[in-house]
Each structure stands twice: as structure tokens, then as C-alpha cells.
Amino acid sequence: MVTPKLFLTTWLLLCSVLGGAVATAVADDAAQKQVRRQAEQPLNNAPVWRAVRYGAEHSTQATGREAGVLIQSAGETWRQIRNGPITLYGGLLLILVPISIGLFYQWKGPLKLNGHPTGRLVQRFSYWERLIHWSVAITFVILAVTGILMLFGRYVLIPLIGHGGFAWFAQISKNVHNLVGPLFIAAVACMFVMFVRDNVWHSIDWQWLKKAPQVLSGKTHVPSGKYNAAEKGWFWGGVALLGLVVGISGLILDFPNFEQTRATMQVAHVVHGVGALIFVAASLGHIYMGTIGTEGAYAGMRTGYVDETWAKEHHELWFKEVNS
């Protein structure tokens, strides 16, 4: 029942953006209506109040953004989306995902090497690749923590540390979030350029995908290039797509100096919130696979080198390529 409502409200928000353009035309028409109404029924202002509802800019001596708008109804819609589904489902996502990852870990344990490490190392990531990866990772974590603090702190932290204590955290969070955001976007852009070559989708990736459950539970290995299908999925769906969505919507909110209207920022906020929550939840999966979930993966990104056995088992095609 909630999903159709969500769609409807999002749709309404979008309409309100477009509505601004139509509103001017409507307002002129309404003026004519009011003139006629005034003659027929003095003191009946219904056409004026109806026109006001469209949220058009009327004249005013006050300066400031949208000062001529008498009333905007989209704010209430935005409130219901933010305080409703985004907070509720976003919060559930952030609780349930780590729990399921934990349960999975308990159940299956980490992916172990089948063979013995040879002790011979191959370079998997160059210095620059690691630098970019960790720049993205660190800025991402900072943004995730500060963002989560600002969305859920009111419910979780205020009861614990009081209004004053939380406001102090939130103030820092807001400023850090606003400053680190553009850095994250820059790092993601570098990452895209640097990693895209090895993330091009190949036909063998379909095979990996088909056997994904067995691969993830450590039953089998499917040969793959430098990155397997899951890693490519994270690259395209996460880094590229969600990075773009969260980045653009974030810039709209971060730099309100271009006379963006409230309607624009409400839409940007909803997009940013939904995108970021999915991004964070998905990143937990990536972090799990890159640390405790796969033996030897973390050392690979940390030092840049992996054992030959690891390379052969996880990324056979890449290993062959490197060795040839």
C-alpha cells in the first residue's frame, strides 16, 4: 500500500516543479476570472485563492528567494516522504543488511583459498589505483556517517545525549558533509576513468552471474578477468550510477546559490536520500566481501599485491593475462 503512495507523492513533487512554468499562464487567466467574479459577486475571491494555490510568484517588495510565492503545498508532501518511507525503510535497510551479512558470515564463514598460498606475489593494484580507491572509500565513509547522523540522530541520539549535545555533532556533520561531498565526487570521477577499462562487461561475466550462489558460498570458482561480475556490478551500479545520482542531487543541495526553488531542492533531497541509503547498504556488501568475507582480498587493496593462488582461483583469466 505504501509503494503506490510513494510513487504518487514523488510524482506530485515532479509535477510541482513543472507546475511553476504553467502557473504564470494560469495566473493571468485567474485575474480575468477575478475581474468578472468581482462584478457579478462582489467580495468573492475564490479565483484569486485558487490561483495562489498553483504556487506562482506574485509581486512583493520583499527580496529573497520565492518571496512572491504566498503558499507552497509541496513542502508538506516532502515532509511526509522524508519523515515517512525514507526514514522508515532507510532505517530498516541499514539495520537488516548488516544483520543478514552477519548471519551469512556465521553460516558460511569467509571464502577461503582451496589451494595453498605459493608465497609468490602478483601486483593487482598500482599505487594510483589504491590511492584513488582509498580516497573514494574514506570520503564515502565520512559522508555516510555524517549523513546517517543527520537523518536518524534525532530519533537515536537526542534521547541519549540531549538536544545540545546532538546539535553540536549535527553542526559538525553538516559542515563536514558539505565540504567532503565535492571531494568525493572528484575522487569518484577519477575512479571511473581509471577503473572503467577493466570493468567492461564480457560474455563470461554471465556465466559467473549464473553460478553466483555457488561462487559466493565457496563451492566453485568461475574464471573471470580482473574483476568478476559482482565487482563490475558494484562499479556500474554503485560507483557510476549511484555516484552520479547522489553526486548531482548532492550538488543541488550543497550549493543553493543558483536560485534553485524549494521544489527543486525537495526533489533533490528525496533522490539524494533514497540514493544514498541504497548506496550505503550496498557498500556494506562490498566492504564485507573486501575484508572479512574473502580471505586475502583486503591485503590486495592495502598492499597492492595478492598471492598467485588467490589470483588463479578468483580471477583466472586476469592471472593468465598478467603471466603471459
Binding site: Q41, P42, L43, P47, L70
Partner: protein, 217 residues
């Protein structure tokens, strides 16, 4: 128990902007912020022009209060919606949510004369809005309260200056029940036009909240 409300009568407002000026003067409101503003609809069109003075309406189910991430708003016993500037982080959410465009920010209104150098990063200062002349958390009538929120007239037994000084009595402020009586009487004399603009949005449908409104529009 008094329930504070504002009421603006579109038949009477002559767009003199005296309420705007009085408010700025009484509270020494910073540059670029108008706690109250007058909006003219169908400006210059004979027979269709209407003006409305609008500020924070001190909503019954206030959207600003609901979305503030640091929960800095509070509602007094008289139904006045106030906020604590020491807690505010300047996120702008209240501005997105408010139907009446009441919350404003010192630095984000870069289009105003005197915009500051920090404006390029879009940093907002502490939110400022109409307090129904009821100050803030600081001690009533203190210097600290005045510098952050302006005069606390309510604690002196006075009503908002904008309403009290309105020459045509288009803008009324005070106990909602009394305002409704005044307006009803006015409508009876006039014989027509019972709508009270903004009350439906700000105070809910009659009977829905504990508040009463003559009619809503």
C-alpha cells in the same frame, strides 16, 4: 487558554508594507530577512488585485517542526512555534517544508544587498523566522534574547506589533477565538466573503485540531 493565530483580511490590506517595516524595526531583523512580507496577487489589474501580509502562521501541525533534524523547534502553551538558534544547524529543511516561506537564512539570501563573502559556498546561517513577538529560550526580555530573536512583546502582555499597528486592521493577531469573533462580525457587516486565507493549511480543518476556525480556505 489562548491559542495565538494571525489573520489577514484580503479585503482590507492596502499593501502599505507597514507591518513589514514595523517588524524589521521592532526586532532589528538582519539584512536580507523579512519575517513578514506582503504579497500582491494580480498586481495592477483593476478589480482583481488583492494583497496579503504573510509570516509564520504558527501552524498546529507544523511541518518545520517535523522535519528539523536537530529538533530545535518547540511550541509554547499559547500555540506559538519558536525555535532555539543555539541548536539550529542551518540545514534549510524547515524552509523546504514550510507552506508560507517563513524560515529564512542570513547568508543564503545572497540576492539581497549586503550578501556576505561566504555566500559562494551556500552556507546558511541560523534560521530566522517570526516569533509572534515571543522571543526565544533566553530569559524573557533579556539582551541575549533580543539580539537573537528580537523583542518579547508577549511577555509584556502585548501582541505582535505588525497586527497591533495595522492601520486598516487587515492584519489581526492574538487569541484565535477572539480573532474569529472579530472577523465574523466584520463579515456580517459586509454581508459576504467569509474565507480566512491560510487557516486551513496552518490550523487544520475546523474540529480536526483543538483549534477553532470560522471557515477555512
Amino acid at each position: 487558554m489562548a491559542r495565538m493565530k494571525f489573520l489577514c483580511d484580503a479585503e482590507r490590506c492596502i499593501e502599505c508594507n507597514a507591518c513589514v517595516t514595523a517588524c524589521k524595526n521592532e526586532h532589528e531583523v538582519p539584512w536580507g530577512i523579512n519575517r513578514r512580507r506582503v504579497v500582491t496577487i494580480n498586481d495592477g489589474q483593476v478589480g482583481a488585485e488583492k494583497s496579503m501580509s504573510v509570516a509564520c502562521m504558527h501552524c498546529s501541525d507544523a511541518p518545520c517542526m517535523a522535519v528539523c533534524p536537530v529538533d530545535c523547534f518547540y511550541k509554547t502553551e499559547d500555540g506559538v512555534v519558536l525555535h532555539d538558534k543555539d541548536l539550529c544547524i542551518g540545514c534549510g529543511y524547515c524552509f523546504y517544508a514550510c507552506p508560507f516561506g517563513a524560515p529564512q537564512f542570513p547568508a543564503s539570501n545572497a540576492s539581497a544587498p549586503g550578501g556576505q563573502a561566504t555566500d559562494w559556498f551556500g552556507a546558511r546561517g541560523k534560521m530566522d523566522k517570526c516569533t509572534f513577538c515571543a522571543g526565544g529560550p533566553e530569559e524573557n526580555g533579556s539582551e541575549a534574547e533580543f539580539s537573537k530573536y528580537g523583542r518579547n512583546r508577549l511577555s509584556e502582555g502585548k501582541l505582535p506589533l505588525c497586527a497591533e499597528m495595522c492601520s486598516t486592521k487587515a492584519l489581526l493577531g492574538g487569541d484565535g477565538d477572539v480573532l474569529a469573533d472579530i472577523y465574523r462580525e466584520r463579515v456580517t457587516v459586509r454581508g459576504k466573503g467569509a474565507e480566512v486565507w491560510g487557516w486551513g493549511t496552518a490550523y487544520g480543518k475546523p474540529g480536526q485540531q483543538s483549534d477553532t476556525a470560522t471557515s477555512d480556505k
